[in-house]
């Protein structure tokens, strides 16, 4: 087995955990095993033997020792962490991938934690924008900086809002499906 690593750039929205899991399983089937999950859209894989490996993603923020132990006891390996997202993997048996969330209530709980994180993450910028005197600030920075900020800040809010709306939609469909 060669130890070389492969870097792949791919974007996923916060509600696309199932798509990520499927994508990681396909990569494992090609012999690409997750080494480090998405950091600024860049995924690092280690090249090895092809295997049918199930990936499952949780959002926990900080994980405590008991959390890790519970998953390890149940046969899951911690494949990596990215900004509070935890990537767990386990060999699929006869093509069957186990779940880490076995009812819709706990799946909804996960998306609610993600929503709370999004709200907290956008808070500092929102407070700064709310309390600062924008017109005075804008004349104090150079024109390119001003243009850049005027473009990036609204884009950031659009992306956060879109991500949140997608999560709400996911929660609603799970709720309609029942417990």
């Amino acid at each position: 087995m060669s130890g070389n690593t492969v870097r792949i750039y791919k974007w996923f929205w916060a509600d696309q955990d199932l798509e990520q899991e499927q994508w990681l399983r396909e990569k494992a089937a090609q012999g690409l095993h997750l080494k480090r999950p998405a950091y600024a859209c860049g995924w690092t894989f280690t090249r090895g033997a092809a295997a049918d490996v199930a990936y499952r993603i949780d959002y926990r923020g900080m994980r405590d020792a008991a959390y890790t132990r519970l998953f390890e006891d149940a046969g899951w390996e911690h494949a990596g962490e990215s900004a509070g997202w935890h990537y767990w993997r386990k060999k699929a048996v006869n093509g069957v991938a186990e779940e880490i969330f076995t009812d819709n209530a706990s799946k909804i709980g996960k998306y609610r934690r993600v929503l709370a994180m999004l709200a907290v993450a956008i808070m500092p910028l929102t407070v700064i924008l709310a309390v600062s005197d924008a017109s005075r600030f804008m004349v104090s920075v150079s024109k390119p900086t001003m243009v850049l900020m005027a473009a990036i800040i609204p884009l950031l809010y659009v992306m956060y809002t879109y991500a949140a709306l997608r999560l709400f939609r996911r929660i609603r469909s799970l709720r309609e499906a029942g417990a």
Binding site: D73, D103, A105, S106, K110, A179
Partner: protein, 112 residues
């Protein structure tokens, strides 16, 4: 103890089995195995769901951590947890009786 049962009931399938498995203090993985055996393989609780259930049930005061060893937390049912479980089972028994009566009636109707 005065308990507002509507705050906790009905229990979800996973929550019910976690409480029912805690007729003796157990740690997480032991609960997962016991539930699978108790439910005759019909209910499997994943570690993500179980960890969330621990957090919720501990906050509600239905279970409590009794010890921690080797990063494994052992939980036990509290007095309140026992009462909530008992009330849930009482309501389930009524449902089962009604269900059986309805089915018997349907069979009789068909035979007539």
């Amino acid at each position: 103890m005065d308990i507002q049962f509507s705050k906790y009931l009905p229990l979800s399938e996973a929550t019910f089995y976690v409480l029912a498995a805690l007729d003796e203090p157990l740690h997480g993985y032991a609960i997962m195995q016991k539930v699978e055996a108790m439910s005759e393989g019909s209910v499997a609780i994943g570690p993500g769901t179980l960890y969330g259930a621990f957090t919720t049930l501990e906050k509600q005061g239905l279970i409590e951590k009794v010890s921690e060893e080797d990063r494994r937390k052992t939980y036990a049912l509290t007095a309140k947890g026992r009462l909530v479980l008992a009330e849930h089972v009482r309501r389930l028994a009524i449902m089962v009786r009604n269900g059986q009566a309805a089915l018997a009636q349907l069979v009789k109707g068909k035979a007539a």
